[in-house]
């Protein structure tokens, strides 16, 4: 079994890594990572816009985006992929590569999920920050730009990495519309070998595991560090508590 796996990797590592690249489209693991990175990079600004719209006081902005987020969260990603598979060519009127179709879907899908994270991050900051910024003469947008978002986004870094991990996992669904990613490459290998499907898909699972596990690990470490930072130095944290309890006990 182990020998089979090593033999497969020896024969097909290039196909799994970059697909048929010099002779065909870029594929394999490289394509999976590029697709995920592009999706998250584009979904990020989209999610900030969505979150601001959902927090807006104008119903005209709030309602459509809320509806979009609810629909996106209530419908399987596979269904959304099939939607874009026929809608994107219809809108652009051209032959659209499946990569672009998948990218569009992931940006909307992850944008909707990430917008909930951004919204939570903004709400978690508390009203005081916004009120203080407004009191100092910032406009609403200025306060968002310089005071609220930098803090909220810093707290969100671990969630963004988690979303990146789930984007990597979601790119596998591109298989249904033939995006030439890692899963596609593995099924190509499987079609050539025919006799060792278990070994091929085990390799696939191990590769995804290695990537996603390391990223999750990074996210967890960052989360702890940010939690420590926000709590402030331990001396500062302990001091007021002691002082308050003293005052309380003296009053009693």
């Amino acid at each position: 079994m182990i020998n089979d796996i090593i033999a497969i990797i020896k024969d097909y590592w290039l196909l799994l890594l970059i697909g048929q690249y010099p002779n065909g489209p870029l594929g394999g693991l490289a394509n999976t990572l590029i697709l995920s990175a592009l999706s998250i990079a584009l979904a990020f600004p989209v999610s900030i816009l969505f979150a601001l719209a959902r927090l807006s006081k104008w119903p005209m902005l709030r309602w459509p985006v809320t509806a979009l987020v609810y629909v996106t969260r209530g419908v399987p990603l596979l269904m959304l992929i099939l939607w874009s598979y026929f809608l994107v060519p219809l809108w652009t009127g051209a032959d659209v590569p499946s990569f672009v179709t998948m990218l569009t879907t992931l940006v909307v899908y992850q944008g909707a999920f990430l917008s909930e994270v951004v919204r939570a991050g903004i709400v978690a900051l508390g009203h005081g920050q916004m009120e203080a910024a407004r009191a100092l003469g910032h406009s609403y947008l200025g306060a968002m730009r310089y005071i609220i978002l930098p803090q909220a986004l810093y707290n969100m870094i671990p969630s963004i990495i988690s979303t990146f991990v789930s984007t990597i996992k979601d790119t596998t669904l591109g298989y249904v519309i033939n995006v030439p990613d890692l899963t596609f490459a593995a099924s190509q290998v499987n079609n050539q070998l025919l006799t060792q499907p278990f070994q091929v898909f085990l390799i696939l699972a191990i590769v995804y595991y290695a990537i996603c596990w390391s990223l999750t690990h990074v996210a967890n470490r960052l989360e702890r560090r940010i939690a420590r930072r926000r709590a402030g130095p331990s001396s500062l944290r302990a001091a007021p508590l002691v002082a308050t309890s003293k005052i309380v006990s003296e009053q009693l």
Binding site: P76, W83, F86, P197
Partner: protein, 235 residues
């Protein structure tokens, strides 16, 4: 494509029957994998909280695998991989008994068990240790304290993430399409091939998924309200 015409789908008894069959299969897969996942999750919970030393790392490894490998790859590994390694007798039996649906239930259920067990674990861990001490002081044994004091509070704490994951399990049942199970997404694609009414049939499929997802969410919200009226009123 001619004009938008929903009745072309809904007035055709053949298409309606395909849709109904798809919904039925989706629910067979959903309920089957939900039950499998919950049974396993409770088992893992027992292992994690038991004094057995190997319990914790084994469950942690299980959870780590299922959270870091895409669900689709897990399904493929089961259906294209493990299925072919089984003894010939099993293969013949499974092939005659809707193997696609069975492996979709196994794959999705095993995967979801990881999420459910983590939800339950964090729910239980958020119960104050004092509760266990108090229960023991009142004469409860470990088992009965768990049963009557700790578990009810822990499960109540775990309800919101459990509901979220139940909805995503429902959505993930569409992945069974890839291994050829004839669930709702499969029915939608089939009808699209037959009718060429792409827009209409995707709309019907989307509305159906949305309807059932919202139904599960509403049911969950009702359950949380019943379980803890005070907290729901505050939220």
């Amino acid at each position: 494509m001619s004009g938008f015409d929903l009745s072309a789908i809904l007035s055709n008894p053949e298409y309606v029957e395909m849709l109904l069959h798809g919904i039925e299969m989706t629910f067979v897969i959903y309920i089957g994998s939900w039950l499998l996942a919950m049974t396993l999750a409770l088992l893992f919970l027992g292992l994690r909280f038991s004094p057995l030393r190997f319990g914790d790392p084994v469950v942690a490894a299980y959870v780590s695998y299922h959270r870091n490998v895409p669900t689709l790859v897990q399904l493929m590994l089961w259906y294209f991989g493990i299925f072919t390694l089984m003894p010939q007798g099993w293969i013949t039996w499974l092939a005659g008994h809707n193997a696609e649906a069975i492996f979709a239930i196994i794959g999705l259920g095993l995967c979801q068990a990881a999420y459910f067990s983590e939800d339950l674990r964090s729910g239980l861990r958020s119960v104050n240790p004092g509760q266990m001490e108090a229960a023991k002081a009142l004469g409860h044994s470990y088992i009965s304290a768990m049963r009557f004091v700790i578990m009810p509070q822990g499960v109540r704490n775990a309800l919101p993430p459990l509901i979220n994951h139940s909805v995503s399990l429902f959505k993930n049942s569409s992945l069974a399409l890839v291994i050829g199970a004839s669930e709702l997404t499969h029915a939608v694609k089939e009808i699209e091939n037959l009718s060429f009414r792409t827009f209409e049939i995707y709309l019907v499929g989307t509305v159906l998924y949305l309807f059932f997802s919202l139904l599960i969410m509403t049911g969950g919200a009702y359950l949380s309200m019943r379980a803890d009226p005070a907290r729901s009123a505050r939220a």
